[in-house]
Amino acid sequence: MSEPLLSVENLHVRFATRGGEVHAVRGVSLHLAAGETLGVVGESGSGKSVTAYAITHLLDRAGRIAEGRIRFAGRDITRAGRQELRDLRGAAISMVFQNPRAALNPIRRVGDQIADALRAHRDLGRRAARARALELLEAVRIRDAAARLDAYPHELSGGMCQRVMIAMAIACAPRLLIADEPTTGLDVTTQKTVMELLSALIAERGMAMMLITHDLGLAAQYCRRVAVMEQGRVVEEGPTAALFRAPRHPYTRRLVAASPTRHSTVADLVGEAPAPAAPPPAPRRGEGPLLEVQGLCRSFGRVLAVDGVSFRLAPGESLGLVGESGSGKTTLSRMICRLLDASAGRILFEGEDIGAIPARRFHRAPQRRDIQIVFQDPNDSINPRFTAFQAIAHPLRRLEGLGEGPALRARVEAAAARCGLPLELLDRFPHQLSGGQKARVGIARAIATRPRLLVLDEPTAALDVSVQAVVLKLLDDLRRQDGMAYLFVSHDLNVVRMMCERTIVLRLGRIEEEGPSQAIFAAPRSDYARELLAAIPHFAPDEQEATA
């Protein structure tokens, strides 16, 4: 075998922090041939991004390469000097970052930024650089490229910003492109177009790509080879299809099992049977639906975020609300939670028009304890000055008037135990808890008052897949046992399919399609739902070879 384009041997990276030295990468070896695509997958903290930063010498000042060798095209670049790095970055190795909007300079026109990248490496005049920038924008298939040349980043969508980043990355025809979570934070349909663009460009220009991602589906679809990282080590490496079909390392096996596929159930993700269901409790009043929304609208200034949405939710039912960013799903969920007022429409909870109570007064309404919410990011959903106990106790104190004492403690401990939160963690502050533990605290707080409707706003979007699997299982079991109704807001269609009996697809504030989840997934009626489904990078280790 000839010399690989990039070879990383026994790489160790250490960071000096206030808690002592952190050994972030512990002996990583990777090889990448010219024109090859390698996926580096792993959960947060696995050291995958740090490895990429070490290769491009972008580690921040606290980090250093402690050991190991990085060779690029036969040259040792482990200790490359400033001049050597200038030649290397952009011209030989370039990077595409997560969150393209933050990676672009907000006060410079994108055409100028691309020209800057070009002129850093080539002796080009202003006009020639501009002409070349236009060609590049056309190459990344931005519509109306000539006009976009003079646009500022804030005038472009997230997907377009990422295309601009890609144009900058390929500007000087590098031989290796490192893409660090290039589509995280983008909608699935945008993700699909960006990833297809990337792989087409790579094939066209014979570049090699290192795709760093937490999404096994993405790696499976776009990479020929995959390296799985855990705690700073590569635990398994091999051809994508074979590796995912028959993972050998226990960690890979766990990861593969926890990644939702087109057919998996919640029980599959964690390998445990669901808890037995309790019969749903009788409705308190009459036989009607628990929640009925009629013609709900909400505008912000002149923008109509939610535009005439109506649906019903039966007691104990689980309804999924899916849509891309800007579809109004979060606005809708906030209105139903009565944290936000509607511009028009009615919200009937057990037949009573709770939409008539202003959101700012709803904290005194008797229905407050019946409608609770689990928030998206567990990291900012607990008061930093509250212990887990205080966070869970808070709604009990306020909504049930429980004072300090054994009754309160018993209720908090019961809620924590139901959410699988070890009782010894109750005295900890949020920063002393892991992401999964914080998610459990958030759920325990929401179920503490035994609500009848639980609104879940992307409850697992910020979690690693293995944690997501456990949290989904927990939520599924809770619903079966308590007969709560769920309004499950998510952009992840696979998760909604597993968690919800019925699904509503939202687009631009309107309901695009509504029906039983299985039916929508098997045979979507609307074009939009079909497009959305097709865009999911399907992770199907058992089905067929990856298309890479």
């Binding site: 206030r18 407050r368 409608i371 609770q372 900012d380 709604p395 909504l399 958030g442």
Partner: protein, 282 residues
């Protein structure tokens, strides 16, 4: 303050000895102010004309002034006066400003806009002149210096608290508190304010230095505190007459005390910022 905060503070102080020094200086200043009665070797107001205008010596470390008073003793007592004014003024403007700012930041809308414009108008005045006018109008009392100093500091606290609360009001834990039935006022006072307190501590420390200067400045031009009360600004003002005659110690020591104390609080403020948010250190 939890154990980990202390550990982090120790880590930052080790890497940033200037902050440690500033903290020690500020602490020393506080101790001097509190124990002034025990520390001062002489009575700060007892004059002894026979012993006037003596340069620093073993008996009088900082020399004596035109009335033969011991300058060191006067400096020590002045520290108490100036710190008391500064602390009182800063606490007052912090209490009022933080609550007003936090309520505005939380409510938004009309209240926020009206208060915001009032603050803008206040800040458009030359603040020291405003303080002078206030003291002149209210009368030459120590408490009026405190009120004037607090008043001109107010806009900063309102703005700061407003901005800090505004970025937090839509965070998950604030919405969670609303979903848990927390009334609005207690949400602002018991949830939001304690969380912006660390950031405001920086502002408080920086403002202390400024408040000291302000109090000294007012006395220097003859407003507020009246002689013979020992106060740094007055001491500088009185000593200035003798500087041409070569009696430098009358001005140099109070000036030095003023400069060092302001420096301590400013450096401490910068250091606090590092302790609270290491990312802001560049």
């Amino acid at each position: 303050m939890s154990a980990s905060t202390l550990r982090h503070a120790a880590f930052v102080l080790r890497g940033n000895p200037v902050t440690a020094l500033a903290a020690a200086g500020a602490l020393a200043l506080l101790l001097v102010a509190v124990f002034a009665d025990w520390l001062a070797p002489y009575d700060p107001v007892a004059s002894n004309v026979a012993n006037a205008l003596r340069p620093p010596s073993a008996a009088h470390w900082a020399g004596t002034d035109q009335l033969g008073r011991d300058i060191l003793s006067r400096l020590i007592h002045a520290a108490r006066m100036d710190l008391a004014i500064a602390f009182a003024a800063v606490s007052l403007s912090f209490l009022v400003g933080a609550v007003v700012g936090a309520v505005c930041g939380y409510l938004g809308g009309m209240t926020d806009r009206v208060v915001g414009r009032v603050v803008d108008v206040l800040m458009a005045f030359p603040l020291f002149v405003l303080a002078m006018a206030l003291v002149a109008a209210l009368g030459n009392h120590v408490q009026n210096i405190v009120i004037a100093t607090a008043f001109i500091n107010l806009p900063f606290y309102i703005r700061f608290a407003r901005a800090e609360v505004n970025v937090r009001r839509n965070l998950g834990w604030v919405e969670a508190a609303r979903a848990s039935g927390e009334p609005h006022l207690s949400l602002v006072l018991r949830f939001l304010l304690p969380n912006v307190l660390p950031a405001m501590a920086v502002q408080i420390s920086l403002n202390l230095g400024w408040a000291i200067l302000n109090a000294a400045g007012l006395s220097f031009i003859g407003l507020g505190i009246t002689p013979p009360t020992p106060e740094w600004g007055i001491m500088v003002a009185e000593g200035a007459r003798f500087i041409t005659a070569g009696h430098w110690w009358l001005v140099a020591f109070p000036g030095l005390a003023l400069m060092l104390s302001v420096l301590c609080f400013n450096l401490l403020g910068d250091g606090l910022r590092d302790i609270l948010d290491p990312r802001m250190r560049t």
